[in-house]
């Protein structure tokens, strides 16, 4: 007892010269909904792979409820449920059979596995599809069934690797509701995603990772306060934006000003969101600079994310 459901200690994975995970230290608490947020190639899936026994760490340790995943792989597998990015449902079986046999793999007795399959189909509104072959399921239904399957053996920790990529908004919101309910019932969950909103809605704490390192770990609110408290205001004008930038620097709430001359854009980071946009537009009018576009981005996880990971393209 007392062991964290998930802990990594200086966890490291290299593929040849590529460093995928670079000394990662994480701890997920019992019952916590924890998010790994990072751009493509940040090391999220490799981390999940190491925690779920399918990727061998190059260095450091990964522990699931105190068990080293490499030395106790079968015991660790018993404690975890995994929803991976790809659809890994058993295409040769029906919806119901996918759940039943999964239960059997985990040592659930026949009658118990039958009852559990029925119960989960009911819970995930899949009862009508019980006899359908999995092959014919739509993306959203398949996703729901994958989640149901991961829960058959009542795992201590649920791993979700980008569970909502490529599914429609209704299905996504529905899935969020299910995940919130599970978490409320005490399900410890580790989610990877690159959707900021998803992380913001679901996660109690978030680790923002990039290049295999955790750049920041905290609650969404704290992350915003620490790294993205600024409102980002951009004003695009016709003509030279420099005089507007000068005026912007004199406004009291403004913390920093960037100018992009080729697009005639002034980007301002301000300590408050109220009024600054209006003041800037007024200044542009006074300077006789026609305003083509003006926008204000309130503090968000996205700002935090971009501040920490940069704006350049990935992949």
């Amino acid at each position: 007892m007392g062991d964290a459901p998930i802990r990594t200690e200086q966890l490291r994975k290299t593929f040849g010269s590529l460093v995928a995970v670079d000394g990662l230290d994480l701890e997920v608490r019992p019952g916590e909904f924890f998010g790994l947020l990072g751009p493509n190639g940040a090391g999220k899936s490799t981390t999940i792979g190491m925690l779920t026994t399918t990727v061998v760490p190059t260095g450091g340790r990964a522990l699931v409820s105190g068990l080293d995943v490499m030395n106790h792989a079968p015991d660790v597998k018993r404690q975890i449920g995994v929803v991976s990015q790809a659809n890994t449902l058993d295409r040769s079986l029906t919806v119901w059979e996918n759940l039943y046999y999964h239960g059997r793999f985990f040592g659930v007795p026949r009658a118990g596995a039958r009852a559990r399959a029925d119960e989960l189909l009911e819970q995930f509104s899949l009862t009508e599809r019980a006899g359908s072959m999995v092959f014919h399921l739509s993306g959203g239904l398949a996703q729901r069934l994958m989640l149901a399957r991961a829960l058959v053996h009542e795992p201590l920790v649920l791993f979700l690797d980008e569970p909502t990529s490529g599914i429609d908004p209704q299905t996504r919101i529905n899935l969020w509701r299910i995940l919130e309910d599970l978490n409320r019932a005490g399900q410890t969950t580790l989610l990877t995603t690159h959707y900021m909103e998803e992380a913001d809605v679901l996660c109690a704490r978030i680790a923002i990772i990039d290049h295999g390192k955790a750049l920041a770990v905290d609650t969404p609110a704290e992350l915003k306060r620490k790294y993205g408290a600024e409102t980002v205001i951009t004003v695009t004008v016709e003509g030279d934006p420099a005089p507007l930038a000068e005026r912007a620097e004199r406004l009291d709430a403004v913390r920093s000003v960037e100018v992009e001359r080729d697009t005639s854009l002034v980007r301002v980071r301000a300590a408050r969101s109220e009024g600054v946009l209006v003041e800037l537009v007024q200044a542009a009018v006074e300077l006789d600079l026609p305003v083509r576009d003006a926008s204000s981005l309130p503090p968000s996880l996205e700002t935090v994310f971009l501040n920490l990971t940069g704006r350049e393209y990935r992949e």
Binding site: F15, G49, T52, T53, T54, V55, V56, A73, P74, D75, K77, R78, I80, V82, S84, A86, N87, T88, L89, D90, R91, S92, L93, E97, Y101, H102, R104, F105, F106, G107, R149
Partner: protein, 266 residues
């Protein structure tokens, strides 16, 4: 340990469920080749007067064929039942990613694949036996009996296990984009040079071939079945094919479980 056995049993139950569902496909896949083969060689050829003869005087060609065609069925079924689904699972369906998360060491998942493949090989042998025994022209009946039941059982079991282990090895190392080469590069040479249509002993006039085919596991399957079903024909000494079948089964099982592990755990 008993938990591992439970999981192993459940993996097997899942595969048997799928086999039952697709049993028609299994039968067609298994029956067609030997049926056409004996139809042409043991029925059409004697009827039209074109023919082959058995290796020894007075022995019909169908007698030579029975053990060989059972070996083909075992081999073909073992390889295709394990390798083809696996290639698909590694590349397209990714089902294997979930299966290896079953609470057992990864090798147990691979070993179960070998066992279900071997079971299908045994079933295939059971299906083929009556066909090759029954389909022939008048006077061309094969002279086949199970002379040595223990040797027959040994040959069937180890031939099946060896074929399935080969299937697992191929399934884990074959590039999915090259799956069409499986038949041209592996199955056909194994079959045509597997002492199916002639006993190994009669290859003496082509000594280099006689030695080269010793690398082919099918030779030992055919020869072991030949020794148990048609001992009147020349065949390899029992110690030779026994050693090759047992050693080959164990060696290939270990090798294929390693390649399986390397494929699913990176």
């Amino acid at each position: 340990m008993s938990a591992y056995l439970h999981t192993f049993g459940a993996l097997l139950a899942r595969d048997i469920r799928v086999l039952r569902r697709n049993f028609g496909q299994f039968l067609v896949r298994t029956v067609m080749q030997p049926l056409l083969f004996v139809f042409v060689f043991a029925y059409v050829f004697p009827k039209i007067g074109q023919g082959f003869h058995g290796a020894a005087a007075g022995v019909s060609f169908s007698t030579v064929l029975v053990p060989g065609l059972i070996a083909v069925a075992i081999n073909f079924q073992g390889i295709s039942a394990v390798a083809l689904p696996l290639v698909q699972e590694f590349s397209v369906s990714r089902e294997i990613e979930d299966r290896v998360l079953a609470p057992v060491p990864v090798w147990v998942v691979g070993f179960e694949k070998i066992c279900i493949g071997a079971m299908q090989s045994l079933l295939a042998a059971g299906v083929v036996f009556p066909i090759v025994y029954l389909v022939h022209a008048e006077g061309e009946a094969p002279d086949v009996h199970v002379y040595d039941p223990w040797l027959f059982a040994f040959a069937l079991i180890f031939a099946s296990f060896l074929a399935a282990a080969m299937g697992l090895f191929i399934g884990t190392v074959l590039d999915p984009r090259k799956v069409t080469l499986l038949f041209a590069v592996v199955v056909l040479p194994l079959t045509f040079l597997g002492c199916i249509y002639y006993p190994w002993a009669v290859l003496t006039p082509i000594l280099w071939l006689k030695l080269l085919v010793l690398l082919n596991p099918m030779v030992y399957m055919s020869e072991a079945l030949r020794a148990s079903l048609t001992p009147q024909l020349p065949h390899m000494p029992a110690w030779a094919f026994s050693l090759a079948l047992v050693g080959g089964s164990v060696g290939l099982a270990i090798l294929s479980l390693r390649t399986f592990h390397a494929r699913v755990v990176t």
